[in-house]
């Protein structure tokens, strides 16, 4: 439960103190911290290999993530080693800042395994693997209006009963250049093999232009996302226990996975 949710429950009582300034800035001396390598890489069929390598930093250090120019990044696949070159660039379309890339296009098929090796001058080494997943088709996207002419959105798809699946679901208004309108991830533990429907509350108007994306994700990606969410929640929720990040890579932090998704654009009418 996030802080705002907690406060929501306490609202009737906190309302009494509305206007009292109940939080203040404090200074904290943090213990010394040994930075770790942080990698982030999403392989996508038809797209070049691009990996971001940075370092974690003590919490009150400068906000710019420290880059690691002497890091060497290699993608492995079927015994081949693809060297990625250090050339930090911002992908203007996706907003992804990558540090290492190759012109080679990834064209793996579902079931193919790709490896990642990152080493640097300090002797740090990060490794990881990802298995290419198939995308899962969206069967229907539908909407329903209430009396006030507001619509909810329902996205349905068929879960594969033979595999353990994890999904990430997003809806965006108008374009992907800004944060999603709604995003969550889920396993199929409760509804394995069934039609799964992800919904929203009544939040859309007639004429809303929506982009719906359904990712079929790896367990390690799901673990990373959920542990990152828990860690974020712990910072600001007095009832939460601190949570460790479950990275998909060994020797450092971060995520190395592949993206298999289906995207649909609809207009509510």
């Amino acid at each position: 439960m996030k802080l705002k949710h907690t406060l929501f429950f306490l609202l009737p009582f906190i309302a009494a103190f509305y206007g009292c300034d109940m939080d203040k800035d404090i200074s904290i001396d943090l213990p010394s911290y040994n930075p770790q390598l942080v990698v982030e890489g999403y392989l996508e069929p038809g797209k070049p290999f691009r990996i971001a390598v940075q370092e974690s930093a003590s919490y009150f250090d400068a906000p710019t993530p420290p880059l690691v120019p002497d890091a060497e990044v290699v993608i492995t696949h079927n015994g081949r080693r693809i060297d990625l070159t250090y050339k930090p660039r911002l992908d203007n379309r996706t907003g992804f800042l990558y540090t290492h890339s190759s012109e080679e296009i990834m064209n793996g098929k579902p079931g193919d395994i790709y490896g990642l090796e990152v080493t640097d001058g300090k002797g740090r080494k990060v490794t990881g693997f990802t298995t290419i997943l198939p995308s899962v088709p969206i069967d229907t996207v539908e909407w329903r209006f209430n009396d006030e002419d507001e619509a909810l959105l329902l996205t349905s798809f068929q879960d594969d009963a033979n595999t353990e699946n994890y999904y990430r679901y997003m809806t965006h208004r108008d374009s992907l250049t800004h944060d999603s309108d709604r995003e969550f991830f889920s396993s199929d533990k409760l509804n394995n093999g069934n039609v799964i429907t992800f919904g929203s509350n009544y939040r859309y108007e007639r004429g809303s232009n929506l982009i719906v994306t359904l990712f079929n994700i790896e367990k390690q990606y799901y673990d990373f996302l959920s542990s990152s969410d828990n860690a974020k929640d712990s910072n600001g929720n007095p009832f939460a226990q601190p949570s460790r990040i479950r990275s998909s890579v060994q020797g450092g932090l971060g995520i190395f996975t592949n993206l298999a998704y289906v995207r649909k654009t609809i207009v509510i009418k």
Partner: protein, 776 residues
């Protein structure tokens, strides 16, 4: 082998019976002169030889005295004491009954007789805090809501979980390790609204005993404390009403005889009414753009008790409790209903076989349940967890010549657990999910103990409890030895020592460190072994200032095994394999509790100081699951220093003032030491992910607070009434509730400028006023 130990205990008890000392018995009862109710825990003392005892649940006492002339003094908090001289001889057994009048002053609550200090000095029991509603009502209270548990938090060795909460952390134990009994029945979640209020309506409660250690053998099932709450029985003389109107809640109690001296009843109700105001605010703001309606929230408690004196030797009692918290949000788009609470019902039969043997037999059912209902359009979801108990319990009190007060008895409980029951469906039945686990278990306990007054100086209390639990074909059993001793070095000085071994078969699944309504209880199973604790304590008591003051110092050491915690990111709500998320570890707690109290005169009160350490260690087979990499870490409520000063002063017959000051080392807290930037995929903004390392390695700033209250007696034409003014946090200290790190952003340029640590406080200065009344 284990049965052998049990039998040997019984054998020992029987063996000691004929070992007569040259003592003779005096026995009798202590009752309220106005309504005839037995006074539980009243003191009957013999000042000449520094001996004393307290009355049992029926108001009876037994003293074993050598031949001679004595003065017997009976006293009880809030009542005038009564003395009687008697000569103890070897002839017929003597009976001396006392009826005590409530103290006659206008502010009789302040009248606390010093004899209870002498009784404390001479009591074999140690590590016990006793409290009456009358005491609690004099202390300042948050929002004016008198709370017995919060008053107990002012005693050494008892800590609160956080600002304003009524959770109890006793000698390093968690809030789930407290055995909370209301008229003998277990209450699973004794709090309302995230623990900000306890479930005990002060008008319904007669007395509260909190055992922090040295647990008598009749108690079992939890590791760290026993909170034994006895409810009022009702006036058997005439109909009366008691109540109060406060800032956030009102309460009303009606009691009286149905058939005079035969059947009497008491009914108490309490309800908060913040929702009445928030609904009004919502109505006035309806239609305003950007207005988010405030959700409805209220809680209520209902207590009832019916006592039927069947004959001279039998009494039947039917008591019940129902408490609910209701949180709701309902509009055209979204329906959300969240309710939780306890329900309890007890039927109890007390029987007196003869002057030496009493029995109390109870049948009770108790349960805790929460339910979250959510509906939007055709979709509806309901999440429920619950525990329901059915218990049979019988306890015997046997007074045997030679200074033996023997207790023995047995209990059996059938537990039913509903764990994370989720039902999700669509109105057109195209989709439906139903998940959850039902578990059951049977718990039992058999015990015997002897409170043996060996001599005027030495008394012993030794006992053994044999307990067990069966669930899913797996049975656990345990022997739980208990022992306590008291030795009077002089008339005003005593030494005490105790040992207690405890076992806990049901576990609270909660990783919040707070008392949340979403608590799930889970039984011991094949893979979940019972929790165990062992505690030793030694104490020193000194009475001085002509019996007005008592100084107590207790040192304790407690170690615990099979402590429960959870994997990082554990899913505790909807998970059919919940026990896969559990981690098992060990714990230890040790400390020194110093207590100085004065309970006679116009100025009374106490000063408590606790120095303590509390740690846990979770070192599992899978290193990835270890907490704090398998090293010891302090619990959140590990508090090195804890000071409380309470002063009650009676200014005149109509006005009394009270001040309470508390100081505590800041809670141990985990903060992220580092961070990294997670860019995420197209369509998601980057975010900062905090990195946590050592568990609870940071300390919040110290907690301190002063509360003041004044009770002004009014002079109504009928009955009694008063106005209680209370100010919580007088000097408006912003005590830290939690700390978080915030990004300092330039939103226009979508840029992070830096990071800032923020400290959040919960309650500023909170004044309140309560009107209390009483008609008899």
């Amino acid at each position: 082998m284990r049965f052998y130990h049990l039998y040997s205990l019984f054998f020992l008890l029987l063996f000691t019976v004929p070992a007569l000392a040259q003592n003779f018995q005096v026995r009798g009862s202590v009752r309220d002169a106005n309504n005839g109710e037995p006074l539980i825990g009243a003191t009957v003392a013999v000042p000449e030889i520094g001996l004393g005892t307290s009355t049992n649940e029926e108001g009876f006492y037994t003293l074993s005295l050598p031949e001679g002339e004595y003065t017997l003094q009976a006293s009880y908090i809030g009542y005038s004491s009564f003395s009687r001289s008697t000569r103890v001889t070897g002839g017929a057994q003597q009976r001396i009954n006392f009826t005590l009048d409530p103290a006659e002053t206008e502010l009789k609550e302040v009248q606390i007789e010093a004899n209870s200090l002498r009784q404390k000095l001479n009591d074999t029991r140690m590590s016990v805090e006793s409290l009456s509603s009358r005491e609690a009502k004099l202390l300042p209270a948050l929002f004016g809501e008198v709370d017995l548990v919060k008053t107990l938090q002012l005693k050494p060795g008892v800590q609160s979980g956080g600002e304003g909460t009524s959770g109890m952390y006793v000698r390093g134990g968690g809030p789930d390790q407290n055995l909370v009994l209301v008229d003998d029945a277990v209450i699973y979640n004794p709090s309302h609204l995230f623990g900000f209020f306890s479930v005990f309506n002060p008008d319904a409660v007669k007395s509260v005993d909190l055992y922090k250690g040295g647990f008598p053998a009749q108690y079992g099932g939890r590791l760290s404390s026993v909170l034994d709450v006895k409810l009022n029985e009702g006036n058997n003389e005439r109909i009366g009403a008691t109540g109060g109107i406060g800032l956030i809640a009102s309460r009303l109690t009606v009691d009286g005889p149905i058939v005079k001296d035969k059947v009497n009843f008491i009914v108490s109700a309490r309800r908060t009414y913040v929702d009445v105001f928030t609904r009004q605010i919502n109505r006035l703001s309806e239609g305003k753009p950007d207005y988010d309606p405030i959700p409805d929230y209220y809680f209520y408690d209902l207590n009832g008790k019916l006592t039927y004196k069947v004959g001279k030797n039998d009494e039947l009692t039917l008591s019940g409790y129902l408490g609910r918290d209701i949180f709701g949000f309902n509009d055209d788009r979204f329906k959300f209903d969240f309710n939780w609470g306890n329900t309890m019902g007890t039927l109890r039969w007390r029987h007196k076989f003869n002057n030496s043997l009493y029995a109390t037999t109870s049948l009770y059912t108790t349960g805790y349940r929460y339910s979250i209902n959510n509906a939007i359009d055709v979709f509806s979801a309901k999440l429920t967890s619950a525990v329901q108990d059915y218990t049979f319990k019988t306890d015997f009190d046997l007074f045997v010549k030679g200074g033996h007060s023997i207790k023995f008895g047995a209990m059996a409980t059938r537990h039913h657990f509903t764990i994370g029951r989720l039902n999700f469906e669509t109105g057109d039945s195209t989709q439906s999910i139903s998940t959850g686990t039902n578990l059951a278990g049977t718990e039992f306990g058999v015990y015997a103990s002897d409170d043996y007054q060996v001599s005027a100086q030495l008394s012993l209390n030794y006992g053994l409890r044999f307990s067990g639990f069966n669930s899913g074909g797996k049975t656990y059993t345990a022997l739980e030895p208990r022992a306590a001793a008291k030795y009077n070095l002089s008339e005003s000085t005593s030494l005490k020592a105790s040992f207690a071994s405890m076992k806990q078969y049901v576990h609270l699944v909660s990783n919040s460190g707070a008392s949340l309504p979403t608590d799930i209880w889970y039984p011991s199973t094949e893979g979940v072994e019972p929790q165990r604790s062992q505690q030793v304590a030694v104490g020193f008591n000194k009475l001085f200032g002509r019996g007005k003051y008592m100084f107590t110092n207790e040192v304790y050491y407690k170690w615990m095994t099979n402590q429960l915690d959870f994997r990082d990111g554990a899913n505790l709500f909807v998970n059919d394999n919940l026990q896969d998320e559990f981690l098992f570890g060990i714990g230890k707690s040790y400390g020194n509790e110093i207590y100085l109290e004065k309970i006679k005169g116009k100025t009374t009160g106490w000063l408590g100081y606790t120095l303590s350490w509390t740690y846990r260690k979770f070192d599992s087979e899978n290193d990835l699951d270890d907490i704090n990499e398998g090293r010891w870490f302090p619990t959140r409520y590990d508090r090195r220093h804890d000071i409380s000063l309470v002063v009650l002063h009676q200014l005149n017959k109509r006005l009394s003032v009270t001040g309470a000051f508390v100081f505590g080392t800041g809670n141990a807290y985990s903060i992220p030491v580092a961070r990294f930037v997670f860019q995420d995929v197209e369509g998601e903004d980057p975010s900062v992910i905090p990195i946590y390392e050592d568990r609870n390695s940071f300390r919040l700033a110290p907690y301190h607070r002063l509360d003041l209250s004044a009770v002004l007696k009014l002079k109504p034409k009928r009955g009694e009434s008063d106005l209680t003014f209370s100010v919580y946090n007088v000097y408006n200290r912003r005590n830290p509730y939690f700390v978080y790190f915030e990004q300092v952003r330039d939103e226009e340029r979508r840029e992070t400028l830096g990071f800032q640590a923020k400290q959040v406080a919960l309650f500023p200065l909170v004044p309140s006023i309560t009107y209390n009344f009483r008609f008899k």
